[in-house]
């Protein structure tokens, strides 16, 4: 099944797949972020693959000079009981990626969380607000340059 997925994806999007990784029986595709909507739509609608369940979507800060951030999608096929990971690398200078809320409704809050924690901007997201942190918070807590103890004074205390 994993071979079929790889073959089909490479046929269709050969120019946009940078790398395929296998680790502990898990398949990971690193793809170009410009095609993420097309790739996820293809994986969802292909009659043989049917990756119709977006289990998880999250960001990763790799703390590298180039392509600092990653957005990770984890898909599951309810029919084939098969899962798959898609990753897009995002440069710090261009923190934009297409929102996939149109393909999977569940992506809505996952993308809001990723925006909240990493500051990645999801284009065409219906309601891109912070999910956990206060609305007027200025920092992105899960970035590696954010200290564990937080930044003193960044959340004002209530008036006595």
């Amino acid at each position: 099944m994993t071979e079929l997925t790889e073959k089909k994806l490479k046929e269709k999007f050969s120019d946009f797949i940078t790398e395929v990784i296998y680790f502990r029986n898990e398949q990971t595709f690193i793809v170009n972020k410009s095609q993420i909507l097309n790739i996820l739509t293809f994986l969802r609608d292909d009659p043989e693959l049917l990756f119709n369940f977006l289990i998880d979507l999250c960001g990763v800060d790799r703390a590298k000079r180039n392509d600092r951030f990653e957005v990770v999608y984890r898909l599951f096929s309810l029919k084939n009981k098969q899962s798959l990971r898609i990753k897009c690398r995002i440069d710090e200078n261009d923190l934009n990626i297409d929102s996939v809320t149109g393909v999977f409704g569940t992506a809505d809050w996952h993308e809001r969380e990723t925006y909240d924690m990493f500051g990645i901007n999801f284009i065409n997201h219906p309601d891109l607000r912070r999910l956990y942190m206060p609305e007027d918070y200025q920092y992105y807590p899960l970035r590696k340059d954010f200290p564990l103890l937080g930044i003193p004074g960044s959340i004002p205390l209530p008036k006595k």
Partner: protein
């Protein structure tokens, strides 16, 4: 300091998202008495610190925006700064109604990343504790749901059963709630014969007690009328919204991680996946009731099948040694020191591992850079995803139905807010 105008803009951002959203929901005979109601964060019916902003027309809900973050403790950040062993204690505080399943979920993820497998006996102990946690959690779910729609007795009867399980957990782990029981490569304490006899006694009475509880609700006209056809979600929509666990199975989708991606020894256990077609609040209640019966079935089989043998894998670089050995043997002292201070150093790579928790699929996405700390630990919490679909479920219902729907989807804020 925030000025008053800034505070006002902050408020209006949440309000904007409520008022500007095109819900596509209109009432023909609009009462022209629209108002915005704020429910929570401190409200007993929201099961924690969930805040809802509800737009009303008369008493009908037109739109709803849930607001999270009141219990956000930054567990993903904490995970990045603690060793894999240290983070096990934090998983107790995720879904605090079923800490034992969270412990199991996290250790399974770390074991997959590090490439070790626990012993057969530890597998069975983990299955026992997971199923015990499932029954305990569903008991609270059913009890509080019944309480939300006005049936108080069920809550007390549910907690009576739950209390027996808590006693077993107390004997087994030494704590009732914050158990921190599993270890990488095994579990902390062995399953004793005292636990077995306590669990057997519980299981003997359980079917009868559950029947009694169900009699209170299943023939209760008020309960049925309050929950039937309430908060209906179709199978396609439920998949699209990423629902998992009992909430998904109540819509007729047969997805259970224990069967879909088998872990531990669930392959060799006989149990059914409970599905209902209706997808309403009542179906979600029925799924939970029937799942508890299946859990009891699994527990009985585990008690019969549990093998003898060690509870910890032999892998000195990754598995903590016994305390008695640390005090008496040089190598174990060194290994203990290295594991505690520098961590278990799994290879560079990334994995996702998930288990079927009482609330749904709890997954951990771990990225390792080869050091003792995870580089990234993402918690895929089922409750957060469930609350996301709340606006869909309560649209068009009455204000008093909101609490019934929240009770039926059974979110836990400790997990939703991470």
């Amino acid at each position: 300091m925030k000025t008053t105008s800034e505070q006002q803009t902050q408020k209006s951002k949440i309000l904007e998202s409520l008022l500007l959203k095109n819900t596509g929901f209109y009432i023909d005979d609009a009462l022209e008495s629209g108002m915005v109601l704020n429910i929570g964060p401190q409200h007993p019916a929201t099961h924690g610190v969930l805040r809802l902003l509800v737009q009303l027309d008369g008493e009908t809900v037109i739109g709803c925006v849930p607001e999270l973050g009141y219990l956000h403790r930054g567990y993903e950040k904490i995970a990045e700064n603690s060793t894999y062993h240290e983070f096990i204690t934090h998983t107790d505080r995720l879904d605090y109604l079923a800490p034992l399943s969270n412990n199991t979920a996290f250790t399974l993820a770390v074991e997959k990343l590090a490439g070790i497998e626990c012993t057969p006996r530890a597998k069975y102990i983990r299955m026992l504790i997971s199923e015990m946690a499932r029954i305990a959690s569903h008991m609270v779910a059913i009890g509080t749901m019944a309480m939300d729609v006005g049936a108080l007795t069920v809550l007390l009867w549910a907690f009576r059963e739950r209390e027996k399980l808590q006693d077993i957990m107390d004997v087994l782990t030494g704590a009732r709630f914050t158990t921190s029981y599993t270890r990488i490569g095994g579990v902390a304490n062995d399953w004793t014969s005292q636990c077995s006899s306590m669990l057997k006694k519980f299981l003997e009475e359980f079917d009868h007690n559950l029947d009694e509880m169900e009699k209170l609700l299943n023939t209760n006209k008020i309960f049925i009328q309050r929950t039937e056809n309430l908060g209906v979600i179709s199978a396609e929509k439920a998949i699209d919204m990423g629902l998992t666990g009992p909430n998904l199975r109540a819509s007729g989708v047969e997805y259970d991680v224990r069967r879909a991606i088998p872990y531990l020894d669930y392959d060799n256990i006989d149990f059914n996946i409970i599905t209902y077609k209706e997808g309403d609040a009542l179906a979600r209640y029925f799924v939970r009731c029937d799942e508890m019966r299946e859990s009891a079935k699994i527990l009985k089989q585990c008690l019969d099948k549990i093998p003898q043998g060690p509870i910890n894998t032999h892998d000195p670089k990754k598995v903590l040694p016994r305390k008695a050995d640390v005090y008496t043997k040089m190598e174990d002292l060194i290994n203990d020191f290295m594991i505690i201070n520098f961590g278990i150093n799994p290879p560079v790579g990334e994995i996702y591992s998930s288990v079927e928790n009482p609330k749904g699929e709890l997954g951990f996405y771990l990225v390792s850079d080869g050091s003792g700390h995870p580089w990234r630990c993402k918690i895929r919490s089922p409750s957060m995803v469930t609350i996301q679909s709340l606006p869909l479920l309560i649209q068009g219902h009455m204000v008093s139905d909101i609490v019934a729907v929240i009770g039926s989807i059974d979110p836990v804020m400790g997990e939703a807010d991470k």
